[in-house]
């Protein structure tokens, strides 16, 4: 892990040209993980301003995950391995220690080198160098956070991934792509008609979404590199709820061209449309299983909105949710062992998960206007839309329900968030 993928860099560059809103994110963290790893992050040596930003990003990332307890370096500021005295850190109660340097190269690129040390065993866990363009200092921080997270928890970090969501400010709707912490907002589309249901292509290169700009719901696919877009589906009635298959070769969408809301499969160029469901009621919000074989979706064929499952190859649907209340918006977990969805009961929306094997249902949030959950690519966090202080906000909850965070954008209502793939 030294250089980011060329394509990713290109994407970031092009996106940056589209528009960069200098939005201020306010983040509130609620709760804490069961076993927090005590870790000390020493502000890097070298360029002080860059070092400060990296430190803020890394500390923020690790804190938000709920899995770490940040230990104050309290005056000890080693930058090289030779300067580290392990007992200093054992006394402070740190299990791990991150040190490093950051500098600007002659060509304007940022070069950050860092080491992660195991204080208990007194060994180096990893030593890496991260290089990036001058304006990608936060990305450098996220990459360092990912490496720390992965080394200390064994799971892949998701701090370098991106999220997409829709923001409404007055009568203006914007489709936005941002870093996983909500910073670095980039406007993909802005208009005065509603935008809904953004979804990522599996390689993170495209967004597919629903726009009302022509007066009714039409599905568009837009490249995040070239910003070019095309109509994926524009039939009479509503065209909506797009979801990309894991192999990228097809999308599931919902059309009403034959009367009722049914799920169809379509190729990414809009060709080869094939009807999949014959519910004769409402079938919507399809979500592909990670192996691409099964779809989960929302349907009212049993009288109330519930989650159903069916083979992509066709076949009978099977109801997955039972009991009181309505259920919507299913999304598979990345390991395919369960799904997350919105549960509505007694006028309150909750984020809940269900395990396929045991049928065990877990409600992860305390309830309110909590909608549209999606998993982070490592399955450890769930992003969803919530409401606080009368505004639509983005929120995350750890998949065990222990840690929640609220992300406030500086203006407008945030809604319809969806977590992007690993880059």
């Amino acid at each position: 892990m030294v250089l980011p993928g060329l394509r990713c860099m290109l994407g970031l560059l092009l996106l940056a040209q589209v528009s960069v809103a200098n939005a201020v994110m306010t983040i509130e963290i609620i709760g804490a993980g069961e076993h927090q790893i005590p870790v000390a992050i020493v502000p890097f040596g070298g360029d002080a301003k860059l070092a400060q930003t990296i430190n803020a990003v890394v500390v923020g990332d690790l804190q938000r995950s709920g899995l770490f307890r940040l230990i104050d370096p309290a005056g000890k500021l080693p930058h090289e391995l030779a300067d580290v005295s392990y007992p200093d850190w054992q006394v402070r109660g740190a299990d791990a220690l991150a040190i490093g340097n950051v500098s600007v190269q002659d060509n304007g690129r940022i070069d950050a080198r860092f080491r992660l040390l195991d204080v208990v065993k007194q060994v180096e866990l990893t030593g890496q160098s991260v290089s990036a363009n001058g304006d990608e200092i936060r990305a450098v921080g996220h990459r360092i956070s990912d490496m720390i997270y992965e080394k200390l928890t064994g799971d892949k970090g998701v701090f370098s991934t991106r999220i997409a969501y829709v923001k409404r400010s007055g009568e203006k709707y914007s489709l936005i792509v941002a870093d996983s912490d909500g910073y670095n907002e980039q406007v993909v589309l802005e208009q005065n008609e509603p935008i809904m249901s953004p979804a990522w292509s599996p390689d993170g290169s495209h967004l597919v979404y629903v726009s009302f700009e022509t007066g009714h719901a039409v599905v568009y696919v837009q490249s995040l590199f070239t910003n070019q877009r095309m109509v994926l589906a524009d039939f009479r009635g509503s065209n909506s709820a797009p979801s990309w298959s894991p192999d990228g070769k097809q999308l599931a969408i919902v059309l009403t061209r034959d009367g009722s809301s049914e799920i169809y499969l379509v190729r990414p160029d809009g060709s080869g449309i094939r009807r999949l469901t014959f519910i004769n009621a409402i079938a919507t919000e399809p979500s592909f299983s990670p192996d691409g074989q099964t779809l989960l979706f929302t349907s009212n064929e049993g009288g109330s909105p519930q989650i159903y499952s069916m083979p992509v190859a066709g076949g009978p649907e099977q109801r997955m949710t039972f009991g009181d209340g309505n259920n919507y918006s299913p999304r598979y977990s990345p390991d395919g062992k369960g799904f997350v969805y919105t549960h509505l009961i007694n006028g309150k929306f909750f984020i809940a998960t269900q395990d396929f094997q045991t049928g065990q249902v877990e409600t992860l949030t305390s309830g309110g206007w909590e909608k549209k959950p999606s998993f982070a690519p490592n399955g450890k966090l769930i992003l969803f839309a919530s409401e606080a202080r009368g505004r639509g906000i983005l929120a995350t909850v750890s998949s065990d329900g222990r840690v929640q965070q609220h992300m406030f954008t500086d203006n407008g209502d945030a809604r319809e968030p969806v977590w992007g793939p690993h880059q």
Partner: protein, 166 residues
């Protein structure tokens, strides 16, 4: 002989109705008095388009639904049928039926539900005599609420299909 004359006058008068001009054709009041068959005619022969008459049922353009229901309710049937009649009599007119929902449910589910609400109004308009080609349906789901608060008095205004003349 007089009777025959009256009949022919009546015939020509009615024939005139068929040619394009004429709603403002002279009121056939004296004829109606003697002609046994002309009773319904005067009602339609009015100068004002009933669509613009605030006292007409046609001034009502919204149909309301209970939660998670898309069938037109009995109370609102006369409104839809009045528009159906008007459309059948004015085949050059077109309408757009817009389905809306309250915010309970997912946005996508509500988009689908709004579509059903629009479709069920369309179905009734067609049964009432309108041509399917006169009607376009669209759903805004919960995206364009009239009222934005989290309460039932607001929600019931948002569970609605609007008949909009183009």
């Amino acid at each position: 002989m007089k009777k025959l004359v009256i009949s022919i006058v009546l015939l020509n008068l009615l024939a005139a109705c068929a040619s394009e001009k004429p709603k403002e054709a002279a009121a056939p009041a004296p004829v109606a008095a003697t002609a046994p068959v002309a009773a319904p005619a005067p009602a339609t022969v009015v100068a004002v388009d009933p669509l613009n008459d605030p006292s007409s049922i046609l001034s009502k353009r919204s149909v309301y639904f209970p939660l998670d229901v898309s069938a037109v309710q009995a109370d609102d049937k006369p409104i839809v049928l009045a528009h159906a009649k008007y459309l059948s009599e004015h085949q050059n007119r077109k309408v757009r039926v817009e389905g809306n929902c309250d915010e309970r449910g997912s946005k996508e589910y509500n988009l689908a539900l709004g579509q059903r609400r629009a479709e069920s109004v369309k179905k009734m308009l067609v049964l009432g005599g309108a041509k399917a080609s006169q009607i376009e349906t669209v759903s805004y789901g919960e995206e364009k609420p009239l009222c934005k608060e989290h309460n039932e008095s607001c929600w019931k205004q948002n569970r609605r299909s609007d008949i909009k003349y183009q």
